[in-house]
């Protein structure tokens, strides 16, 4: 009996076992998932919690409900992966030997990595929304906010769901308008990149969204520390941005137990082949979802599409055959723009987000790179699809490879 061990039972770990269990002979393959707890979080829901659109119940369900029959779920934390010996040690002393290993422990925000973040203002005027507690605490702070400087800040790329901070800024704008205090709020968006939009076509189509909403943008901001007393973020080139309420996205990092395993880079992301997810160092080790160092957005959508391809490949790999399918980096994401509207982006490793219609060329119904109410509905529908379709390993009626049909190619000068 061979053993497939999956570390992490979040979006990627759950989707992949749901796909593989019916496809691998149960007399031949045992499958085990390891996770630290029994709470599966729908993380895209964190964005809506601060504004009261979603509550805790919308974002949390029991993890074990989504692990299919025939897959063992072990609660525990890995202490160390030993790829030379094909085994994983857990903190409680258990040793799990494997034939094939999938690492799907995601990435998490690390406020401790930026000096001053966890100081006296933490969860008072210094907030984050990349954890459930953070999103809930931010809701309280926004409810109490009566005006002043509201600063949304990204520490460094890569972060999961790189558009989430922008969406938070849009939703904050809409929220303060609705409360009738928008004129008392100064909204600032701070990024380490050279613009809020960095790809030429998206920048041309979406650049106006910030200006229209009166959101100021501060670019190339490399944070050195948060000065809690002065209530300002300070950069390495000594710029200071004062805030009354700061929503920072801390540095994101892969799981700490991976450090020193010989599998990961400086941010604990597993170094993989970008088309197969296979470790660049050990052929029986794979990483899926945010845990991998794929040169694309860390998003549930990326995990979903790459796992479609991985499922085909792994069935070949399990039989000792070469893997013949290649993931092209395809992902799409709905982006909230506030006031009941949203945008849709569709892209892959080689093609930047382009305008057009999706998934049916010319018809849509979704509009790419353009605000619409239907795109917002798409984002809200995604929650249902996540719990009922994606985690169950069922198919969305959308193809895994990106298509150029329906996209408008434009000269970018």
């Amino acid at each position: 009996m061979k053993h497939l061990l999956v570390l992490g039972g979040g979006s990627a770990g759950t989707m992949v076992v749901a796909k593989l269990r019916p496809r691998l002979d149960p007399d031949e393959w045992r499958i085990t998932v390891v996770d630290q707890d029994d709470e599966h979080h729908y993380q895209p829901g964190y964005l809506f919690i601060p504004f009261g659109t979603y509550r805790r119940e919308d974002a949390v369900k029991r993890r074990s409900r989504f692990i299919p029959d025939g897959v063992e779920l072990v609660f525990g934390k890995p202490a160390k992966v030993e790829p030379e010996a094909n085994r994983v040690r857990l903190e409680d002393g258990q040793v799990l030997a494997y034939d094939q290993l999938i690492i799907a422990t995601g990435t998490s925000p690390r406020p401790e990595e930026t000096e001053g973040t966890l100081g006296s203002e933490w969860r008072k005027s210094v907030h984050e929304f990349y954890t459930l507690e953070g999103a809930l605490a931010l809701k309280g702070a926004i409810d109490r906010f009566e005006g002043g400087r509201f600063v949304v800040h990204i520490t460094e790329m890569p972060i999961k769901c790189p558009v989430a901070p922008l969406e938070l800024a849009f939703l904050a704008d809409a929220h303060f308008r609705e409360r009738g205090i928008r004129d008392l709020v100064e909204l600032v968006y701070v990024t380490p990149l050279d613009g809020a939009f960095t790809k030429p076509v998206a920048a041309a189509h979406l650049g106006h969204l910030l200006a229209e909403r009166g959101i100021a943008v501060e670019t190339d901001f490399m944070i050195e520390r948060i000065d809690a007393e002065a209530k300002a973020i300070v950069s390495y080139d000594e710029r200071e941005i004062p805030f009354d309420l700061l929503v920072t996205v801390p540095l994101n990092k892969g799981a700490d137990f991976l450090a020193g395993s010989g599998l990961v880079d400086h941010l604990n992301y597993v170094q993989v082949d970008k088309h197969t997810g296979q470790s660049r160092h050990y052929p029986n080790v794979f990483a899926l979802g945010d845990a991998a160092d794929l040169p694309t957005s860390k998003a549930g959508a990326t995990a979903h599409y790459s796992i479609d391809v991985f499922t085909e490949n792994f069935q070949q790999h399990a039989r000792g055959l070469p893997m013949t399918h290649a993931y092209d980096g395809h992902a799409n994401c709905f982006v909230e723009s506030g006031n009941g509207k949203g945008l849709l982006l569709d892209f892959n490793y080689d093609t930047q987000p382009l305008p057009g219609r999706y998934p049916l060329p010319g018809v849509g119904p979704f509009a790419l790179l353009e605000e619409s109410e239907l795109n917002h509905a798409g984002k809200l529908m995604f929650k249902w699809a996540y719990w009922h379709v994606l985690l169950r390993g069922r198919e969305l009626p959308l193809p895994a490879d990106m298509s150029m049909a329906g996209k408008v190619l434009e000269a970018t000068s």
């Binding site: 960095t198 790809k199 670019t219």
Partner: protein, 105 residues
């Protein structure tokens, strides 16, 4: 994609003037690119950073972030701001002939 003549050589550049062919870069081109971003002379300190960027890009297929240049490359972040003032991430990648660091949009 357009062709530009830099330091007497024809190279491929994108709409922002970044080189798009990794192999077309050399130090004489870098010296010209540096002038575009207000760096009159490339010192050995500049070149050490550029070399790290290129090697790292080649092994990972992605331009390193400022944080990576400092933690993995061992260059002090404040020093990077002196060498490539105001916009180090963009300027370093521009002069090194690798893509600028981007988000997903």
């Amino acid at each position: 994609m357009t062709i530009a003549t830099i330091a007497g050589q024809n190279v491929h550049v994108n709409e922002e003037g970044f080189l798009t062919e990794f192999g077309e870069w050399n130090e004489s081109i870098a010296a010209e690119l540096a002038k575009d971003v207000g760096i009159d002379e490339l010192t050995s300190d500049h070149l050490a950073v550029l070399r790290f960027l290129r090697e790292d890009y080649q092994s990972n297929g992605e331009t390193p972030t400022l944080r990576r240049v400092s933690t993995v490359g061992g260059f002090d972040t404040k020093r990077l701001f002196q060498l490539f003032p105001k916009k180090p991430a963009k300027k370093m990648s521009y002069v090194a002939g690798v893509p600028k660091p981007v988000g997903c949009v």
